[in-house]
Amino acid sequence: MRDGVRFAGGQQGISTDTLIDALAGDLSATPVRSVRRTLALAFACGSAVSAAAMLALLGLRPDMASALATASFWIKLIFPFGLAVAGLMAVDRLGRPGAAAGRGYVVGIAVAGTMALLASIQLATAPRDAMRPLLLGHTLDHCTALIMLLALPILAAGMYAMRQMAPTRLRLAGAAVGVTAGALSAAIYAIACDETALPFVTLWYGAGIALTGVLGALLGPRLLRW
């Protein structure tokens, strides 16, 4: 069979019927869960690399043992983790043609809103001269940058997983991968960071997550085309 494939012919390439036969012949059962498994695996691997880098570069926060008993330690962990869950929901939807991010937005806004509320309460009830340290902490010069740096392995793995899917809005899909990577990275960084003020965490963790989201949005149209 020659399939009419001739380079200079009037008809380019193979006939559509031939292609359909070939595609049908190539069919294998497609587990619908395979998409989510790929996503979960990619973000888990990226996070593992990022966590290893955090331990190697920064180590655990010096007051780890006593910090476990404080509310701020757990809030610092739950806030980015909640955003990561929202991001993953959006990633799963935006990787499928014809689906809107839907509930991912709702969860994300709820988590960010709750965190902003807690931070405002802490700020409002603090004495006037305590406001500055609550907002600026003592690690401002590297907090946001380190969150972005630790997000890079997760961003790479997440983009790889998204490339296996079929995003049709590449900028938005890239942003969702970026926010998820930034949020997971922030949760990992929280274990190394001894800041306790919620306004600081909201602002500067939030900035790290948002900027990683922007990076994802910029990379999306370049990396995710199919």
């Binding site: 380019q12 390439g13 559509t16 595609l23 499928r96 014809g98 689906a99 085309r225």
Partner: protein
Amino acid sequence: MDVSAPNPPLDALMIAAQAGDEAAYRALLKALAATLRSYFARRLGQDASVEDLVQDTLIAIHERRATYDPQRPFAAWFFAIARYKLIDHLRATRRSATSPVEEIEDLAGPDEETPASARLDLERLLDGLPQRSRDIVRTVKIEGQSVAEVSLRSGLSPIAIRVLLHRAVKAMSVKAGNSRS
């Protein structure tokens, strides 16, 4: 063809296809090809690239079929892919002044250029391809061997070869279009 028509319900065909039912899948692809043909023709007119776009979209559907969530409407998934491929195509053709399919035919057409310069252009375009694709384009499109022969010799499945061929020709068309605009 109306995709939302219940007879045959395409959602059911797709779900059967995801479970590995080849007959259902073949019926589905046939119906989709017809729908895509009119979808693209309505938007591009009687353009030579319509059939190419139909094939490209069918391959995309095949490769990304796991992203269809059976709990959601199939038509939304399908038309989002068709729309994405259409926009991608328009974006690519707007960059080059003429249709890439015509470019590649010009390039290889004997009455347009001397065979020697055509071959030079061809080699230049082939150079941009990965080794494996280059070999396949050479053997199938230039030497005229059949896909079955190449499949036997290379150990690749016929479908893998067809997909590689399709992509390679597309990549070459884009390159030909870009370098001329």
